[in-house]
């Protein structure tokens, strides 16, 4: 029975897993109206400190287990915001220590890589994973258990960040990803030809900063920036066209580079993970492109796309099973790499 803690960025999350199967997975932003004290997601470490105990107790209760049934504790050790990571890591170590059970630090990105194995049979090794979220955009080849090769990553903004910033420009709320996804379904993806940045020939890296700026110029030149702040409103059809055209540009690049990476490495199993992997166009495009190439695509269940402790627990369980517990001297690493 593993207790897992994730506090690398905004979400405070705790999960209980039994032999790799998720018994509970509690995420702070989903507890807003719950009976557990109205935890609202906030930035920074003190917010995690306030939420962590309530979230952990909720996870124990939802799993129907007592603290003393825990046989191992996993916590995210990086990458992320150092202060936020520290809260979860220390809390996890404290519980492991007090219960006298092993502790293991987990790389947040490693969690995303295996998020497709939660609740469903994940892909066999080797497989290729596109991690796309607010903080990360990376193509990773998982050769075998614990053996990773980063093939490409963003050179500036993450894909999810571009979604959030474009949503802000359009006067939509936060988080921007789901709102753009929804609005885009009413729009024409060919209305505006935004630039696709493929970088230099053969590169598997990404760049979304230029696309963000192109959307900004498009809106600014037409007097359509920040409609809410200026009390004006853009015609919904125009907004939908911009949202659809922007999303099309992002998905074009993500899918083309992912298929290229799979082809180049001779991998026919592809997974997508992270918040943006919930995007409906990305899912359908990747599905059809993969099928066309005779490849299979896995994507996570909705609750495992966003940052969550279940994926940390799954990797923690794998690591403990393979005798890879961490020492209690393990510290956080804000820029931890795979």
């Amino acid at each position: 029975m593993i207790l897992a803690i994730e506090t690398s960025c905004d979400e405070t999350s705790a999960a209980i897993l039994s032999n790799g199967a998720v018994l509970s997975n509690v995420i702070s932003s989903q507890m807003i109206h719950s009976q557990y004290g109205g935890v609202v997601p906030e930035l920074a470490s003190r917010a995690h400190l306030r939420a962590l105990e309530a979230v952990t107790n909720a996870a124990l209760r939802a799993a129907g287990i007592e603290k003393n049934e825990i046989t191992g504790v996993a916590a995210t050790s990086g990458p992320g915001l150092a202060g936020a990571l520290l809260v979860g890591l220390m809390f996890g170590k404290g519980i492991a220590c007090s219960l006298g059970v092993p502790f293991v630090g987990v790389n947040h990105l490693e969690g995303h890589l295996y998020s497709n194995s939660l609740g469903d049979a994940g892909p066999e090794h080797p497989f290729l994973c596109l991690i796309v979220s607010g903080g990360h955009t990376a193509l990773v080849l998982v050769r075998q258990l614990f053996e990773y090769q980063v093939l490409g990553q963003t050179r500036d903004d993450a894909a999810g960040e571009a979604f959030d910033k474009v949503a802000k420009m359009l006067g939509l709320g936060y988080p921007g990803g789901p709102l753009i996804d929804k609005l885009a379904q009413e729009g024409n993806p060919e209305a505006v030809r935004f630039p696709r940045s493929f970088l230099e020939e053969g590169s598997l890296d990404f760049s979304f900063s230029g696309l963000k700026t192109a959307v900004l110029y498009h809106l600014r030149d037409r007097g359509l920036m920040y409609p809410e702040e200026e009390g004006a409103s853009i015609d919904r059809g125009t907004m939908a066209d911009v949202a659809a055209s922007f999303q099309e540009a992002v998905v074009d690049v993500l899918s083309a580079k992912t298929i290229e990476a799979a082809t180049r490495t001779g991998t026919d199993r592809i997974t997508i993970a992270g918040g943006v992997s919930a995007n409906s166009l990305l899912r359908s495009r990747m599905q059809s492109e993969a099928a066309r190439k005779g490849m299979t695509l896995h994507y996570p269940r909705a609750e495992y796309c966003m940052d969550n402790a279940a994926m940390i627990g799954y990797v923690g369980w794998l690591r403990l099973k393979h005798d890879r517990a961490s020492g209690l001297e393990l510290g956080v690493e804000a820029n931890l790499v795979l």
């Binding site: 915001l81 150092a82 903004d157 960040e161 230029g210 820029n335």
Partner: protein, 146 residues
């Protein structure tokens, strides 16, 4: 204080590089400018000037990126998502104001309450000319506008 007009993202990064080359450990650089003006490009240039081996990316989501440097670390901070002074103080950015660190703060208009008095200020504005034109104003600690 000097103002330079740049005409491409590369221009902005090049200017950042020459500025970065003269920074000393302990320096704090406050960057001001709207979305899409090239703050992160300028920071990438600074990091090149400081001969950072890693590749700087936008810290909007994680808020703080740390890059190892010969003298210690470069803290690349982005306050875009910070809601108010309470959140700002929770971050503990002041802990990066020391002799082993160079601090680069994007959206620094949200950090006025905690900025040390002797920081550099870099303001980037969209130019009047082409879409890509930017006006970059760099102020040294001694010449900050009041």
């Amino acid at each position: 204080m000097r103002t330079v007009t740049t005409r491409s993202a590369k221009d902005t990064a090049d200017l950042g590089e020459s500025f970065g080359a003269m920074l000393k450990p302990g320096d704090v650089v406050a960057l001001f400018g709207e979305l899409g003006t090239g703050k992160t490009e300028f920071v990438k240039g600074i990091c090149a000037g400081l001969q950072i081996s890693g590749r700087p990316t936008s810290p909007t989501f994680t808020i703080i990126n740390e890059y190892p440097a010969r003298f210690g670390i470069v803290a690349h901070i982005d306050l875009y998502r910070i809601g108010g002074e309470a959140e700002l103080r929770d971050l503990g950015i002041e802990s990066y104001f020391h002799e082993g660190c160079i601090c680069l703060i994007e959206w620094a208009d949200r950090a006025l309450a905690i900025l040390p008095g002797d920081h550099y200020a870099v303001k980037i504005l969209h130019g009047d000319g082409s879409e890509r034109e930017r006006m970059v104003t760099i102020s040294s600690p001694g010449e900050l506008p009041s």
